[in-house]
Symmetry: C2
Subunit: 464 residues, 2 copies
Amino acid sequence: MKSVGNTDIANSPALLIDLYELAMAQAYWSDNMTDTAVFSLFFRTMPEHRNVMLACGQQTLLHEIENLHFTEADLENLRSLEMFQEGFLDWLRRFRFSGRVMAMPEGTPVFPNEPILEVEAPIAEAQLLETLAMNTIHLQTVLASKAVRLVTAANGRPVVDFGMRRMHGRDAALTGTRAYTVAGLAGTSNVLAGAVHDLPVKGTMAHSFVQAHADEAEAFRTYARLYPGTTLLVDTYDTRRAVMSIIDLLRANPELRIGAIRLDSGDLRAESGLCRELLDEAGLNDVSILASSGLDEHSIAELVASQAPIDGFGVGTAIGTSVDAPNLDLAYKLTEYAGQPRLKNSPGKLTLPGPKQVYRFYDEGGQVTHDLIAGRTEPAPSEAKPLLSPVMEQGNIIESAMVSASDSARSTQAAFQQLPASVRSIKATARFQVDVSDGLSALQQQTLAQIQNRAGTDQAVRAG
Amino acid sequence: MKSVGNTDIANSPALLIDLYELAMAQAYWSDNMTDTAVFSLFFRTMPEHRNVMLACGQQTLLHEIENLHFTEADLENLRSLEMFQEGFLDWLRRFRFSGRVMAMPEGTPVFPNEPILEVEAPIAEAQLLETLAMNTIHLQTVLASKAVRLVTAANGRPVVDFGMRRMHGRDAALTGTRAYTVAGLAGTSNVLAGAVHDLPVKGTMAHSFVQAHADEAEAFRTYARLYPGTTLLVDTYDTRRAVMSIIDLLRANPELRIGAIRLDSGDLRAESGLCRELLDEAGLNDVSILASSGLDEHSIAELVASQAPIDGFGVGTAIGTSVDAPNLDLAYKLTEYAGQPRLKNSPGKLTLPGPKQVYRFYDEGGQVTHDLIAGRTEPAPSEAKPLLSPVMEQGNIIESAMVSASDSARSTQAAFQQLPASVRSIKATARFQVDVSDGLSALQQQTLAQIQNRAGTDQAVRAG
């Protein structure tokens, strides 16, 4: 098993799992506990300074679940831990997920305590999905939720992902980029991820390219010849000088065409104003100005508000890890077993029992007013839209529920625009109203009372 | 190319690259620029609230570089972008990295502007490594630097990684765990990563396991029977009741043995005190108490200072993404081409030219006093330790420079303990002294003057 690099993910994806999932699965197997469990995946608290999250990663997860199996090498590795019985390893050898998954569509705006997805399956199977489900939904939800803020701030100007170097590893750089597509970014510098996830692949030049040449103008000439319509980076030494040398280059070589210049440092408002002026004076009105340089949603919003003549933004560090909120307190909780509601009442961690549905309510103008979390079998309020629908039955993906990343981008923007402006804002900390149905509240109280009664009985028994 | 999941990483790792690396490489190829370039990988600024970082990921990177090649499917994908010439695609088809890499050992304490590694190769080859080098070193450096803070705070008590569900994707969960080993964590819940990176695999039980059973005591009995010496989670409903039921269980079944209980919510100091008391009263002095529940280095340090009877810590969210500093402003900069020093003087981004060495100085007691960044060919100060050494020559890993993750853990702790206490501290913001040699400063000024002279000449020519 010793090796470095990525080979082992491809060979043993099933073992990228917390040990306790396997330990619990064996315990269920050993006790013959095969009844159906319902697990709910949700987060408890909105990250600070955020008003809304976008649920993402469901499709990647479904494909991973469909493919999930244990190889002989996996079983050999588990055997070496000396805690698994041959009968259970044999169960793992034959394991294929056979259950049902209900999920929100990718890109759905989501709020605390709302299930992003629910898994229904024999308990050992449902338990085995926990680490995988959390890891996959966490990454893409965190990244999509950040990326949509950049899109909001840019107010119609394209935002391109330059973040691969800051993303956490190569899987984040590949599957995470799906979240950028869903959230509405206009492109990515990441060649493979762009190809896989419907995002146009974009690239300019690095400072090193200019530095490697004895003369900046020569670096520009080479690039403009090779890549008609390319973007030239103008801030390696002196921005004004670089723009003047581009103007000279284009005057001397009327067959050359460049699409844009890129600014990557300094006062972007002032520099973009200067560049625009120089370009326009030279008749280069069609050459765009792109900006990068540690931009986030707040600096982009400021530049947009200041009417800086910037036509598009490249963003790396801010979105690569969702730097202000890289984590979400996602939980995967048992809410029903063998038809009986379950909950946990650790301090601050009370959960909602049973399978659920989330309803979204709209006003007459089509704007979202509030959400309702209800038991799944409660009568649906007629005027509301249910957010969870079946995406996997008997372990098989429901193909009609699968949507391409670029189609998701369109429905995401539509759903996002229906939110109140205060919730869409990158600034205000609006509280969006999420109600819990009377039925679900009653079930929670009732389940809690059962647990407390049982505790009382136990203590009475012990005292006796 | 369309697919989701991890398959494509395994099939096309070379295309997880920023497009501009390939565009620049083709430009160098097309201009016949084949001289040797030196690129330096370093970070500019220490993250807020941090005193030191641990360089990590070098070995993973070297293996990736050795394996880096472009498949026919990769070339087909690139061809579809309609910007690459067949001659260049053929160059890519034959690409194998042929250069040299100098690097710090994994786990080396590192400070701003110190090269973690330097790459020397024909410029197109060295440029092609940029995205890969940054992505790999960034992830592991960020995670190792956070993890060592938890180890410091726990002051000798074991810290176990429970973070896979919060880590950004599956590659982070696999290769990132190497950083945890290097930084001195005592175990991980991640089965595959533990096996690959020398970290004992640990697991307890989730709340769902207790909830699935009609009776908590039954859940404990099952686990204790299956897993002698296991850890039982005691806070699902009521901690006191859970501990009492474990005591009853062990009294009634003297053949059973449990190793620890785990607290995952509430006031950990008070709860651990209560549990210790109950266990000791029952003669269960050898049952340990483990704590988890959103712990970070500060809450662990407080618990340790308060003498809470906690024997070990499980940490997830805090280390999974290094939540307070998920990013590092790592840069991969050209510092020499064709024997000529290069630098960039964008505002706030002035770089140090030429190939370099970092020297670490110690006092008579063996404690580190300061570092010196110097040109690599400057005479080495006799009393200092050079931190960069060759790890790859002509594209081949120098096997003698490769160290297992667990051996790195030992040397990391030794190197870390030699730092001044203020730098090791999780609290103080100590500034560690890093000098730049006179020779290197002079070279920087001289290179800068050359650039400015050239700028002056250009403008004179244009004005004339």
